[in-house]
C-alpha cells in the first residue's frame, strides 16, 4: 500500500470527535478527502486540511455531494484510500453513487455526522434519522457496512476499522456519527493502527479479470495505470467487467454482492454488552444514546433493577443472532434512539416475539439526560 506513516501522530491529544475522525483517516493511510461543506461535519475537513500538508494528502471541495462521492470512487481506483464527510442532506445526494460504489466494489469510507431531519432539519442538533437510509437509501438491492461511534476515541478507532472493512470486503463503509459525538471533546489516544491492506491481483497482466472472485467471494483489485487495461461498469457485468443484460448475470453479480457481506456478518458485527447475563430488561442503543443508556443501566442497578445494556457498534449488517439470543434471555428490550423508530423495527423483528420491545424515541433536548431511559426501565 502506498500510505507512509510520515506525519502521522502518536500519543494523547485533546480532540473533538470530528477532529479525531480526521486523525483516524490519516492514521489509516487515507490520502484523499473530497467534500462539500455542510454542518456539522465541517471540523473533519478543517482538521484534514491543516494536516494534509504533513502527509501529502489531497483535498478537494467539489461543487456538490453528488460529484464528491464520484470523485472519491475515482480516487480509490488509483490506489489511494479515500474518504468523504457529510451530513443527512449530503448523504441523500450521494445515494446514487453509494450504489455505484457497491457495484464497482470500490473501497471507500463515508462519514455521516447526523443532524436533525428531515430535509434541512436542525443543522446543529444531533439525530439518528439516517440509519435506515444508510442501509436502504440507494436503489436496487445491496448490502454494506455501517458503524456507529459514541465518543471521540471511538470516532478515531472506528474510522480506522471502517477503512479496514472497506479494503477487506471491497465495499463502501459508512460511519453513522452524530452532531453530539462530532462536537464532543475528549482525550484521544492515537496509537499505530493495525491496517488491512488492499487485496491486489498478482497474476499475469493479460489474465486479469476485474470481477473474477476468489473463494471468499471478494475479487482482487488493481490500480489504474498499471497496464491491466481493465473495464468496469455500473451495469450488471460478468467477470470481465463487461455488461451482460440477463437474469443469470444479474444473479451471478448481485447475489454475490449481497452474500459477501451477509455471510461474513459474524466477522463484521461488533457489540458491547454490559450486565446482560442476569438482566430482565436490556436497553438496546447505539451512537450518542448508548452513553446515556449505559448510565441509566448503572443507576437502575443501584436501585436493584436487573437491567443491562446492549450497544450496537456495527449497525449494518444488523447483529441479528446476538439480539435474538438476548431476546430469549430477557423479558423486555428497550430501544433508545433519536428518531421515531428505525433500528427499533429491526430489534422487534429479531426478538421474534420472545421478548416485548419498547421504543423510546428521544429528542435532541434529551441527549444528555438518562432519566427518561431510567423511567422506562422502571416501568417495565
Amino acid at each position: 500500500m502506498k500510505e507512509n506513516q510520515k506525519g502521522v501522530l502518536e500519543g494523547k491529544y485533546k480532540l473533538s470527535g470530528n477532529q479525531a475522525c480526521a486523525e483516524g483517516a490519516i492514521s489509516a493511510g487515507c490520502r484523499f478527502l473530497g467534500y462539500h461543506p455542510i454542518t456539522p461535519s465541517f471540523e473533519i475537513v478543517e482538521r484534514y486540511a491543516q494536516r494534509c500538508g504533513d502527509v501529502d494528502g489531497v483535498l478537494i471541495q467539489m461543487e456538490d455531494e453528488i460529484s464528491v462521492l464520484a470523485a472519491v470512487l475515482g480516487a480509490s481506483w488509483t490506489g489511494r484510500k479515500a474518504i468523504t464527510v457529510t451530513s443527512g442532506p449530503g448523504l441523500s445526494l450521494m445515494l446514487e453513487h453509494v450504489g455505484l460504489g457497491v457495484m464497482l466494489e470500490t473501497p471507500c469510507v463515508i462519514v455521516d455526522v447526523q443532524r436533525g431531519g428531515p430535509s434541512e432539519g436542525l443543522p446543529n442538533s444531533p439525530g439518528s434519522g439516517d440509519v435506515m437510509q444508510a442501509r436502504w437509501g440507494s436503489h436496487g438491492d445491496y448490502e454494506l457496512i455501517a458503524l456507529s461511534p459514541n465518543s471521540p476515541q471511538d470516532m478515531f478507532d472506528l474510522t480506522i476499522e471502517a477503512f479496514n472493512f472497506s479494503e477487506k470486503y471491497r465495499t463502501p463503509v459508512l460511519i453513522m456519527a452524530d452532531e453530539a459525538v462530532g462536537h464532543m471533546t475528549d482525550e484521544v489516544v492515537i496509537s499505530p493502527p493495525e491496517l488491512v491492506e488492499r487485496k491486489y491481483y498478482r497474476g499475469p497482466k493479460e489474465k486479469y479479470l476485474p470481477y473474477k472472485w476468489d473463494k471468499d467471494l471478494i475479487p482482487p483489485m488493481v490500480d489504474i495505470g498499471q497496464g491491466y487495461k481493465f473495464h468496469v461498469t455500473g451495469l450488471t457485468h460478468d467477470e470481465r467487467g463487461y455488461p451482460v443484460m440477463d437474469e443469470y448475470c444479474q444473479e451471478w453479480n448481485v447475489h454475490r454482492l449481497i452474500d459477501k457481506i451477509r455471510l461474513y456478518s459474524d466477522e463484521i458485527v461488533r457489540i458491547e454488552e454490559e450486565e446482560t447475563e442476569d438482566a430482565d430488561v436490556v436497553v438496546v442503543s447505539y451512537g450518542i444514546s448508548s452513553q446515556d443508556a449505559q448510565n441509566a443501566v448503572k443507576r437502575a442497578r443501584e436501585d436493584g433493577i436487573k437491567a443491562g445494556s446492549l450497544r450496537l457498534v456495527t449497525i449494518w449488517p444488523f447483529p441479528e443472532k446476538q439480539v435474538t439470543e438476548l431476546a430469549r434471555k430477557v423479558k423486555t428490550l428497550i430501544v433508545a434512539e433519536m428518531n421515531y423508530g428505525q433500528i427499533f423495527y429491526e430489534v422487534e423483528r429479531c426478538s421474534r416475539g420472545s421478548a416485548n420491545t419498547v421504543l423510546i424515541s428521544r429528542q435532541p433536548s434529551q441527549v444528555h439526560h438518562h432519566e427518561d431511559i431510567l423511567e422506562a426501565i422502571k416501568k417495565v
Binding site: 500538508g53 453513487h97 473495464h231
Partner: protein, 293 residues
C-alpha cells in the same frame, strides 16, 4: 529468422486499431450511420500519434450511446453513472496526477445532467480532455429532446417541435474557463484527430465537440435520411472558422455549422494552484498540536 518472419506477417495482418479496441466486444451496439465510431477512431488515431504510454491513459464515460465508448477502448476504462463522468475523472486525476484522463461522453450526459460538473471542472481547470459527441438527442433512451436539440426539431418528448433554445457547448466551456475548445463533425476526421492531439498537449481542461449524426432517432424522426445523408449535409454546410467568437456558434436547425478551433489559452491548472496553496498553507506540526492541548 523464422520468428522475425512470422512477426512481420503478424504486423501486416494486424489492424492499427486492434491495439486500442476490445476486439472481444466487437460488434459494438452503435447503429449503422452513427458518428460515434468515427469519433472513437479519431481518438485512437490521436493516441497513436501522441505515442503516450497507453498504460497511463484512462477513459471515463457516463451513460448513453457515447457512454458505451469506455467499453470498447482497450485502456483502463470506466463506465460510470449518468452525468458523473467528469467528477469521477477528477478523482482519478487528483488521485494519480501522472495519468492522462479522457472523458468521452455525449451531449445529454455532459451538458444536461452533468452541466454543473462540466462548468466547475472547467473553472478549476482540471487537466483532462473532454470529448463530447453531440447528436442533438437522447438516443439511448429512444430519442427524447436534449438541451442541444435545435428549434424546431421533433423528438419523442417534443412531438410538437422543440421550442427550447439549444445550449452552445463551446460558449459554455469558454465562459466557464476551458483552455482549449474545438468543434468538428464526424466527417472531419483528420482535423478532429489533430484537435484531440492538441487537446492532449494543452495542460488544463480541453473540450472537443464532435457533431455526429444519429441515424436511428434524430434523422429518422426529422426525416433527414440516413447517416450518410447527414454526413453529406455536414460536407455542404460546415464552415471552418478558427478563432470564431464563441457567441456565434449557436446551431440552428439544418443551417450552417461553424466548426474549428475557437479557444486556445493558458491558465494555471488545479494541481498547480493546489501545490502552491499547500506550500503556503501553515499545517499543524506535532508541536503545534501539543500546544493545542
Amino acid at each position: 529468422m523464422e520468428a522475425s518472419k512470422t512477426l512481420t506477417i503478424e504486423k501486416e495482418q494486424r489492424h492499427p486499431m486492434d491495439e486500442l479496441l476490445r476486439m472481444d466486444r466487437i460488434p459494438h451496439i452503435w447503429c449503422p450511420g452513427c458518428g460515434i465510431g468515427a469519433a472513437v477512431s479519431a481518438f485512437a488515431a490521436a493516441l497513436e500519434k501522441l505515442e503516450f504510454d497507453l498504460d497511463k491513459v484512462c477513459v471515463v464515460s457516463g451513460i448513453g450511446c457515447t457512454g458505451r465508448v469506455a467499453g470498447y477502448i482497450k485502456l483502463d476504462s470506466f463506465h460510470t453513472t449518468h452525468g458523473r463522468a467528469i467528477p469521477f475523472a477528477t478523482g482519478i486525476k487528483l488521485g494519480n496526477p501522472d495519468l492522462k484522463v479522457v472523458v468521452f461522453s455525449g451531449d445529454g450526459d455532459l451538458v444536461s445532467i452533468g452541466g454543473n460538473h462540466f462548468i466547475h471542472a472547467a473553472r478549476r481547470n482540471i487537466d483532462m480532455v473532454v470529448i463530447c459527441v453531440n447528436n442533438f438527442i437522447y438516443a439511448m433512451t429512444g430519442g427524447q429532446v436534449a438541451p442541444t436539440t435545435p428549434i424546431p426539431a421533433y423528438t419523442t418528448t417534443s412531438p410538437f417541435g422543440n421550442f427550447e433554445p439549444p445550449s452552445n457547448i463551446p460558449r459554455l466551456a469558454e465562459a466557464a474557463g476551458a483552455v482549449y475548445v474545438a468543434r468538428w463533425t464526424a466527417l472531419h476526421l483528420r482535423r478532429l484527430t489533430e484537435s484531440i492531439v492538441e487537446a492532449f498537449q494543452r495542460p488544463g481542461f480541453s473540450v472537443v465537440e464532435v457533431i455526429s449524426p444519429c441515424s436511428m432517432y434524430y434523422s429518422r424522426i426529422n426525416k433527414l435520411g440516413e447517416g450518410i445523408d447527414m454526413l453529406r449535409f455536414y460536407h455542404d454546410n460546415a464552415i471552418i472558422r478558427h478563432g470564431e467568437p464563441t457567441e456565434n456558434l449557436d446551431i440552428d436547425y439544418q443551417k450552417q455549422i461553424i466548426i474549428g478551433r475557437f479557444v486556445d489559452r493558458e491558465r494555471p491548472t488545479f494541481m498547480d494552484s493546489y501545490r502552491k496553496w499547500l506550500s503556503g498553507a501553515e499545517s499543524i506540526s506535532k508541536e503545534k498540536v501539543d500546544e493545542k492541548n
